[in-house]
C-alpha cells in the first residue's frame, strides 16, 4: 500500500476526534433515550466503538501500536460485558417478562 495516499496526510486528526465524539454522543443520547435494555446495551457498545475508533486513529497518527493493543483489550471487555449484560437481561426477563429499564425503579429514596 505504499502508493496510496495515507489518510494521515489528508484528514486532520481533528476530524477523527469529532467523528468519535459524535458517535460517542449519539451513544450517550441513545442510552438516555431508550427504554429497551438491549438497545441501551447496544448504545453502550456504540460508545465503546467510538472510543476504539479514536484510539486507532491516534495510534496511526502517533505511529504507536499500543493504541491498537488497547483496542483489543477494549474489545475483550466489550465482549465480556455484553455476555454478562445479556445474561442479566435474560435473568430479569425471566423474572419480570420485560426488559424495560424504566420499570426497574423499585429501589429508590
Amino acid at each position: 500500500m505504499d502508493n496510496t495516499i495515507t489518510v494521515t496526510q489528508v484528514i486532520p486528526i481533528e476530524m477523527y476526534v469529532w467523528l468519535s465524539a459524535a458517535l460517542f454522543a449519539i451513544g450517550v443520547t441513545g442510552v438516555l433515550l431508550r427504554r429497551n435494555a438491549i438497545v441501551v446495551l447496544m448504545c453502550i457498545e456504540l460508545m465503546l466503538n467510538a472510543v476504539n475508533l479514536l484510539l486507532a486513529a491516534f495510534s496511526t497518527y502517533l505511529s504507536d501500536a499500543s493504541g491498537q493493543i488497547m483496542v483489543f483489550f477494549i474489545m475483550v471487555v466489550a465482549a465480556a460485558e455484553a455476555s454478562v449484560g445479556l445474561a442479566l437481561l435474560v435473568m430479569i426477563y425471566r423474572n419480570t417478562k420485560s426488559v424495560d429499564i424504566s420499570f426497574l425503579n423499585k429501589l429508590k429514596w
Binding site: F24, G27, V31, D64, A80, E81, V84, N95, L104, L107
Partner: protein, 464 residues
Amino acid sequence: MKALIILALTGVFTLFAGLNASKRSVVQVIAATGLGLALVATIWDRFWAAPFSIGNMLTFDHYALAFGSVAILITLLIVLLGRSGYQGDSENFGDFKALLVFSLCGALCLFSFDNLIMLFLGIEILSIPLYVLAGIRKNYPASNEAALKYFFMGAFATGILLFGITLIYGASASFSLSEISKIASSGNQLPGMLKVGILMVLIGLSFKVAAAPFHFWSPDVYEGSPNLVTLFMATVVKMAGFGAFFRLFDLSFAQISGVWAPTLAVMALLTMSIGNLTALFQTGFKRMLAYSSIAHAGYLLLGILACTRYGGGALLLYTLAYAVATVCAFTVFILVAQEKPEETTGMDAFRGLGRRQPLAAFAMTLAMLSMAGIPPLAGFFGKYFLFAQAFPDYFWLVIAAVVNSAISIVYYFRVITEMYFKPSDGVEAAPLTLPLAYRFVLVAAILILFAISILPGLILSWVG
C-alpha cells in the same frame, strides 16, 4: 504478584469445589486458605521483598502491597461470613466465592497499575464479577434490579473512562503513567486533550467510588444486592477505587493538580453533603450505610485532593478504619436480618440487641462511633489525618467536612439508640446466638479497630 497468582488459582479451585453444591465447607476452606496465603504473601512482600515490577504494567511497591493486604484481609473476613450469610442459590455458592476472589484480583491491579491499560482492565476485572454478584439472588427482584442498574451505569461509566484514557493517549502517545507524567510535568503548555482526558478519567473513577454526581447507582445497588456483596462493594471496591484514584492522581498527576483539583474539590463537597443529608432520612439500614459510604467517599476525596503530609498513609488509614467498621456493621446486620423477612430490615431490627447479644451490639456500637469519627476510635484518626493534611489548602472544604461529620452522628446514633435505648419486649428480647465465624470476625474487627486507635502511626507508615 504472588498474591495475584495465588488468588487467581484460588478462584479456579473454588469454582471446581463449588461444583458439588453440598460441600459448602470445602469451598469455604479453599477460599479462606487461599486468601490467607495471599495475605501472608502480601505482607511478606511488603516487609521482606524488594518492590517488584512487571514490564511497566504493574508495580508492587509498598503502596500497592499495603492497600492489597488490607483488601485481602477484608475479603477474608467477608468470606468467613459467607457460609451462613450467603443469600443466593446454593448451587452457586462456589461461583459466588470465586467471583469475589476474582473481583479482588481486579482490586489488586488497581492498587498496583502502572499503565492505563491496567487501570482499565483492573476496573473491569473488579466490576464484571460484581455485576454478577449483585444479581446472584436470582429470584429476588431487588437483587435483579440492583444488578441491572449497576451494570448499565457501570458500563456507561466505563465508556466515559475509556474516552478519557483515549484522549490522554492521544495527547501523550503512551498509556504508561511514567510517560504521561513526564508530559504532565514538562512545564510546557498542556495539551487540551490531556486536560479533558484527565477529567473524563476522573469522572470514570468517581463513578467507581460513588462520588456525586456519579453516585446515583450506589444506594440502589447497595440496597438491592445481597448483604455480603454490598459489604464487599462498600469496603474492597471502594478501597480499590480510591487506591486507583490515588495512584493515578497523586502519584502521577500531582504536578498538574490545577487541572483536576478544583473539580474534585467541588465534587468532594457535593459528595459528602449529599451523602450525609440523604442518609439522615433513611429508615433502612443498608440504604443508610450506602449513603453514609457516599459521605465517606466525600471525605476520602479530601485525601486525594491533598496528600502532602502523609501520602497515601492517611487514605489507607481511613479506608482501613472505614472498611473494618463496615464489616462489623454488616456482620451484625446480617445476624439480625436473618430472622426478619426481607422487606423489613429497617433500623428496628436492632432493637434490644444490647441485651440480646451484647458482643454484637458492642461491635456495632464501635463501628458506628468509628464511622462517625468520634475519638478515640479508629475512624477519628482516619478523619484527622485527612482533614489535617487538607487543612492548609482546602480550609473551606475541611469545615464543610467537619459540619458533615457532625450531621452524620444523627443517623449513626440511631442504630445505637435502637440497640440500647429503646425498650424491647417479646421476641425482640430473646437472646440471639452468634455463630462462631461471626464471633471470630467481630472480635477480629474490634481488635483491629482498637489497634488502629492505639497505633495509627503504624498504619500511616505502612505505605511509606
